[in-house]
Amino acid sequence: MVAKFHIELKALKEDVLKMGELAKDMLQKSVESLISQDMELADRVLSKKNEIMDMDDSIEQRALTLLTLYQPMAKDMRTIACILKMITYLARVGRYGKDISVIAKELSTQPHIAKLVNIPYMNKMVTDMIDDALIAFQTEDISSLQTLQERDDSLDALRWSVFRECVTHMMEDSKNITRCAHYIMIARYLERCGDHACKMAEKIHYMVTGERIEIK
């Protein structure tokens, strides 16, 4: 029975990784669809929203079943605790991808106001952070997580940079207000996804070492 538990736990970890890839992909593609005004791509992201929610439900259900049936201890228990938190963060990341795709579609009829250099840069940063968290979850090598706090600070700085840039455009011409409000929201979503990557890193650190840390 214990062998069965470990097989099931391994399968669960693999599914968390799949969910992680999906969430990251949704976020990444949503920003790409925004920048390139590619409606087809935005629709493809939107079509994934049920898939990620289903994964969230099914992984949670299976994790709870494992807890109930086997009452795991030590690292096995920490792994399940980590999984239960991670899927919530990943579901949120996927949902932000969906939200950005909805905005991308709305903004597709008119050209972008400025070059929007910061938003794709934020996209790259945050997806790299999520990637590193997922790799650490898979390999249990937490060394790449050490830089997350610093990277999250940069992400915050970029978010305020987008904010200031947008406020300037809004003041220049009130017609820009709607679009710029959307840009501000997107920057805010990306910054929030960075926070989720940090929270995941905290849980992964706990899973691997048993120690709780805080990444601010």
Partner: protein
Amino acid sequence: MPRSDCIIETVGLNLWYGENHAIIDVHMKIMRNKVTALIGPSGCGKSTLIRCFNRMNDIIDNCRIEGKVFFDGEDIYSSNTDVVAVRKKIGMVFQKPNPFPKSIYENVAYGPRVQGINRKQKLDQIVEKSLKAAVLWDEVKDRLDRTAMSLSGGQQQRLCIARALAIEPEVILMDEPCSAVDPIATAKIEDLIDDLKRRYTIIIVTHNMQQAARVSDYTGYLYLGRLIEFGETRQIFENPQEDLTRKYITGRFG
């Protein structure tokens, strides 16, 4: 002088059954009014270890003990120790309920009687108090004269706990007290342990790790006669430091 938080301490404890070195250099401290659980695979020495605490191993042929076991600062293996007095202070409950083939009342009154208490009123008091403490009173108060054998397994086990409590021990050793009873009785005994620790120090041997995690404050993991790891229960089950403990509690053992 204030009493120390540590009630039992073993120092370099070794035990042999003939050639078999069953307990190897165990140093551990049992804290007063806490529940300490001993876990480990079958044959690792858990039961042997707790039997050292009230000198139950004395009755086993070719059993040899070295090292010290201090109870309230006094070495219970010193030559001038009164073994009966030690066993009075350190009671024991076994794996299989073993009531005497007597009435429920007599089972509990037996110990006090042996100690010379004969007044009916006093014995009635002790029986009621002990059965209440073992949370059995309400179930048996109307049939105290019935044979203890008529009780269910779980009730018999609680009767054995009441019998242990009747002589007012300070420490109760429990050797897998729930392994022969059903889940409902197990839950009752676990609740009882939680309740008893306010007045007694409890040392419990269990094969059920979830039970150890639920009832104990401290946990020791034994393997092949050695105390591999000892610490606060939460730490042992959440983040054990020793690889052997980790493997055992996550079922990756052997």
